[in-house]
């Protein structure tokens, strides 16, 4: 008798590597990764931003993992948007997964959201961004000076003006803060 109504004949054998059908797009810098991610997500592709494999790691970098079978279609879309990857490689080993845990601290009048190494603090009444801390890449002071003192809904997003992994982490904190403040 089939277990839970599933015939044994219908169970597919797992591929030899869980990543065998995935490729990675390597870009010149994190800003391009962020732009490409936005374009590909808007176009409906199932992609993930991940850490590069050790052999192509330079420092502060991200890659986009994508379904390899869609390679031509994806490259065409990126070319149209003038965000051309430096390399397209098959995934040969496990990729590093970005931190996805949020830590929230309520200071009463203020709410602090931490994503990875970045913290964003908002005045809960006015929804103004009052502080940004953490991180070590050079866009952190730039993001802080561009976002502090602005309303959460009106501030430039780190996705638009950030360039590094710290900027990417701040984007996560920013999105979480907006979600928690029902924006």
């Amino acid at each position: 008798m089939p277990l839970f109504g599933v015939s044994r004949k219908k169970v597919k054998k797992a591929p030899s590597s869980p990543n065998a059908d995935r490729g990675i797009l390597v870009f010149e810098n994190t800003s391009e990764v962020i732009r490409a991610e936005t374009i590909l997500r808007q176009s409906g592709w199932a992609i993930r931003v991940m850490g590069p494999p050790p052999e192509i790691r330079t420092g502060c970098d991200l890659v986009i993992e994508f379904p390899l079978i869609e390679k031509l279609h994806i490259l065409r879309r990126l070319e149209e948007a003038r965000v051309k990857p430096l390399q397209v490689l098959p995934v040969s080993g496990p990729l590093l997964k970005p931190v996805d845990l949020f830590h929230i601290k309520d200071f009463g009048k203020h709410l602090m959201v931490r994503a990875a190494n970045m913290k964003l603090t908002v005045d809960k009444e006015t929804l103004m961004i009052v502080n940004i801390s953490g991180g070590g890449c050079p866009d952190v002071p730039y993001l802080a000076s561009s976002m502090i003192g602005k309303h959460l809904a009106a501030a430039p997003s780190p996705r638009e003006i950030g360039h590094t992994l710290c900027g990417y982490a701040l984007q996560l904190a920013y999105e979480e803060a907006k979600k928690r403040c029902s924006l």
């Binding site: 203020h110 990875a116 603090t121 953490g134």
Partner: protein, 301 residues
């Protein structure tokens, strides 16, 4: 002399190397004036305030504009690696720079050309690239927070953004994370781990924990870590032994925070202003009396 190497969040800011001065709420190096609220500028301002207390020369700075594209950092690396070998700095702090493994290796080679190796302090992006490039043990002090310590403790993580989930960023795990960072050669000779409790540690274990006063509102304030590293850099330059300088810096940063009467919306400049009076009390009075005096002063504000 202390040298500070970092970036200014303004893409038009040129490559500058030279003396630096504090003018009210701004810094000036050569013809260029810039705000001190955060990042390397906050570190420089805190170092100047510290050095002034001890009547020591102000730092020499290597600065460049970089808003995260890395172009400024690379220009700075090129200039710095060409010129640093002929200098005689006694301490050097590397700060907000675009992490780049290859350039970090070149910096380490260039420093070998100096006649006497300076005390090397790294924070922010410079600390990230020191760990990533396997050069961490060549540095004298790192100043991570709990999240950055988790990154140092994770031998596979190339950036705090990729710290593996099983290595939690929890404050109560700090002693284990310190041990793990040293076990994998991913820590400097000393660590000053900033957080609710500040830990001063070496590969032999925890040397001191500074936990008073606890000012919770300091955590969200951007630049408090930069201020701490600035005070530490200044104190190291005075010749104080590194672990003692780290403990005094941690204490001074907390008391300066207390005197600033912060809320989570306070900016780092308000804390920097308090450094001279706090250091003066901590250095010139018995510790207990100094703490009482500062606490009383804060209570009367």
């Amino acid at each position: 002399m202390l040298a500070i190497v970092g970036t200014i969040p303004d893409s038009t800011f040129p490559l500058v190397s030279g003396d630096v001065a504090l003018e009210n709420d701004r810094l000036r190096s050569g013809d260029y004036s810039f705000p001190l609220e955060r990042g390397t500028a906050a570190l420089i301002a805190a170092a100047i305030k510290t050095l002034d207390v001890f009547h020591k020369p102000r730092p020499f700075v290597y600065l460049v504009g970089d808003i995260g594209r890395g172009d400024g950092s690379r220009r700075l690396y090129e200039y710095f690696t060409r010129s640093v070998g002929a200098t005689d700095f006694s301490a050097m702090t590397l700060h907000y720079l675009m992490p780049d493994v290859d350039w970090c290796n070149r910096i380490v080679f260039a420093l070998e050309d100096m006649a006497v190796r300076p005390v090397l302090i790294a924070d922010a992006g410079a600390m990230y690239m020191a760990k990533m490039s396997g050069n961490a043990p060549l540095f004298d002090v790192f100043t991570p927070d709990a999240g950055e310590l988790a990154f140092l403790a994770d031998e596979d993580a190339p950036h705090p953004f990729y710290t593996r989930g099983f290595i939690l960023h929890e404050e109560n795990l700090v002693p284990d994370l310190i041990q793990r960072a040293y076990a994998h050669d991913n820590a400097a000779r000393y660590l000053l781990v900033k957080g609710e409790r500040d830990y001063i540690a070496s590969k032999d274990g925890i040397i001191e924990i500074v936990s008073e006063p606890l000012v919770p509102a300091l955590e969200p304030i951007g630049g408090t870590g930069d201020v701490l590293t600035g005070i530490l850099s200044g104190l190291v330059e005075t010749g104080l032994e590194i672990s003692k300088a780290a403990a005094l810096a941690a204490r001074a940063n907390r008391f300066a925070g207390l005197l600033a009467q912060p809320t989570p919306a306070t900016q780092a400049g308000a804390i920097i202003e308090q450094i001279p009076q706090v250091l003066d009390l901590l250095v010139n009075s018995p510790e207990k009396l100094a703490m009482e005096a500062i606490t009383n002063r804060a209570n009367t504000l």
